[in-house]
């Protein structure tokens, strides 16, 4: 039983941290730009495909692929913000969502055109492909790696936002865009930068998914984006701390649910989301407005 519980926990942790990797960028973008980006799932997908391509070109070096791939996706993020999104910030919510939705359609088909419609089985990460025994049952090293990377990224983002100048400026701009501008922040450029950074985070999530899911398919971003939305909403829109805890909650809930409630379903996660929204619309850690 102990073995079981521990492994259910581990599986939940890795699932949660994996969602966090994707949700972090989504949350950051929402927090600063106030745009809920449907296309974030597409950046996840593009990240996976670019990483895979680079690792194939560069002698199966996963880490090099992970380094270069997301940077390419950043370029896509730049184009999307600079030439499209920028012009809809002042518009009503439906237009913003529709714009990002159009990019979902676009990216999905582009991936199909460039990489083919079929799924691609992807290789394991070198050095992390094995598994170690935890209480007599194997647990994949790579999942442990994800469990480690999640908090690492959280801490790195925390350090970046709390301890660096750029982070300070981002926090300033996200709470008061106008005053930030009045003390010399070039807000449009900052928005582009933040969007690219969020894109990069999403793409990193995709890159890390290459060995984690073991599979690339066009449209792979669509399942993860709903999870990421749920996490972002539960945690409090725009709150990174909330998204981190939200991801943990969702990961563990689904892991324990799958194991101990035979009929477990996403129904429960959506009930959780609805209850939290009704009770505390700003989410667990969102600022009340």
């Amino acid at each position: 039983m102990l073995q079981s519980i521990v492994h259910v926990c581990l599986a939940g942790l890795s699932a949660g941290m994996f969602i966090w990797l994707v949700a972090s960028g989504l949350t950051l973008i929402f927090g600063v730009l106030r745009v809920l980006n449907f296309a974030h799932g597409s950046f996840y997908m593009l990240g996976a495909y670019f990483c895979y391509t680079f690792l194939r070109f560069m002698g199966e070096n996963f880490w090099l692929g992970l380094l270069v791939g997301p940077l390419c996706v950043c370029a896509a993020g730049f184009a999307m913000e600079r030439f499209f999104l920028r012009y809809v910030y002042h518009l009503a919510l439906p237009y913003q969502l529709l714009l990002t939705f159009a990019f979902v359609l676009l990216f999905d088909d582009l991936v199909k055109i460039f990489w083919g419609a079929g799924s691609i089985g992807s290789p394991a990460a070198p050095g992390l492909s094995g598994s170690i025994s935890v209480l007599g049952r194997n647990f994949p090293v790579y999942s442990l790696f994800i469990i480690g990377v999640g908090p690492l990224i959280a801490v790195a983002m925390w350090v970046f936002l709390e301890r660096t100048w750029l982070g300070c400026i981002i926090r300033a701009a996200s709470s008061d865009r106008e005053m930030a501008s009045a003390i010399g922040v070039r807000v449009p450029a900052l928005y582009t930068g933040v969007f690219m950074f969020g894109t990069w985070l999403g793409a990193i999530g995709g890159g890390l998914a290459v060995p984690y899911v073991g599979l690339l398919t066009p449209g792979m971003g669509e399942t993860i984006i709903i999870d990421a939305f749920v996490v972002a909403v539960i945690g409090g829109m725009g709150s990174l701390k909330g998204a981190f805890l939200g991801a943990l909650v969702i990961g563990l809930l689904s892991s324990f649910g799958t194991r101990f409630i035979p009929t477990f379903d996403m129904f429960l996660t959506f009930i959780l989301m609805a209850v939290i929204l009704v009770w505390r619309p700003q989410g667990l850690f969102g600022e009340s407005t």
């Binding site: 100048w165 300070c168 400026i169 926090r171 300033a172 996200s174 709470s175 008061d176 106008e178 005053m179 930030a180 501008s181 009045a182 003390i183 010399g184 922040v185 070039r186 807000v187």
Partner: protein, 233 residues
């Protein structure tokens, strides 16, 4: 002449707030815009900063046109702004609120955190506190300090004396004089005539979106008619 405002017209939606506002500020001066609330003082300052872009007119700062420029370009040119609602960044600590302004500024000079904290010792004590948790008076000092940190050539102060106890207003007067000595020009908007009289050289009286009078502070102070008509009841 460091700032020259010419024939500025500003609208909020359809309401015509500033109507052909013109005035100027000389280098090294402290100039005040006087008038009751709702007459357009804040809008004038916001128009200069580019936060509420005017529809027409001209604003020359150091003989360069800044009308139509985004606020950050005004800031880079050497303007700093203390809004009436202070607008402290709530997520940033006291220290960060100060440093960020210095970091973003394109000017260097006398003011640094040491000196600002010397000016407002309470900010030193609150250094690690988030902006959210400061009291009103502390926020005011922080907002003024933040404006100074950019080492601007011209500071726009909106209602600096508002909500301060008389004793604090007294020290504010000293602070402004100290700032003035460091060759910073100040344009302020205030209702408190007694305060303005102590710190300003000249004043413009604003009424219903227009400049109705330009006069030295002493001139205004001694003109009971003007005071009655535009400033008090």
């Amino acid at each position: 002449m460091i700032l020259q405002v010419l024939q500025v017209n500003t609208f909020y939606g359809s309401s015509h707030i500033l109507q052909d506002v013109s005035f100027s500020v000389n280098s090294g001066e402290v100039v005040s815009l006087l008038g009751r609330n709702g007459v357009g003082k804040t809008t004038t300052l916001r128009s200069i900063m580019g936060l509420t872009p005017p529809r027409s007119g001209s604003i020359l700062f150091k003989n360069k046109e800044i009308i139509g420029k985004p606020p950050y370009e005004a800031a880079w040119a050497g303007l700093a702004y203390m809004p009436d609602d202070l607008r402290i960044f709530p997520d940033l600590t006291c220290e960060e609120n100060l440093d960020i302004a210095a970091k973003l500024s394109r000017h260097t000079g006398y003011w640094n955190r040491e000196r600002v904290e010397e000016l407002f010792p309470v900010l030193r004590a609150r250094r690690k506190q988030k902006g959210l948790n400061l009291s009103g008076g502390e926020k005011k000092m922080l907002s003024l300090g933040r404006a100074l940190m950019a080492n601007p050539e011209l500071i726009l102060l909106d209602e600096p004396s508002e909500g301060l106890a008389p004793l604090v207003v007294g020290s504010l007067i000293q602070v402004i004089q100290e700032i003035k000595e460091k060759n910073v020009t100040i344009l302020l908007a205030d209702q408190n005539l007694k305060f303005c009289r102590r710190v300003c050289n000249r004043g413009y009286i604003v009424e219903k979106g227009r400049i109705v009078l330009e006069e030295t502070m002493e001139g205004i102070w001694s003109n009971e008619e003007v005071i009655k008509r535009y400033l008090v009841l």
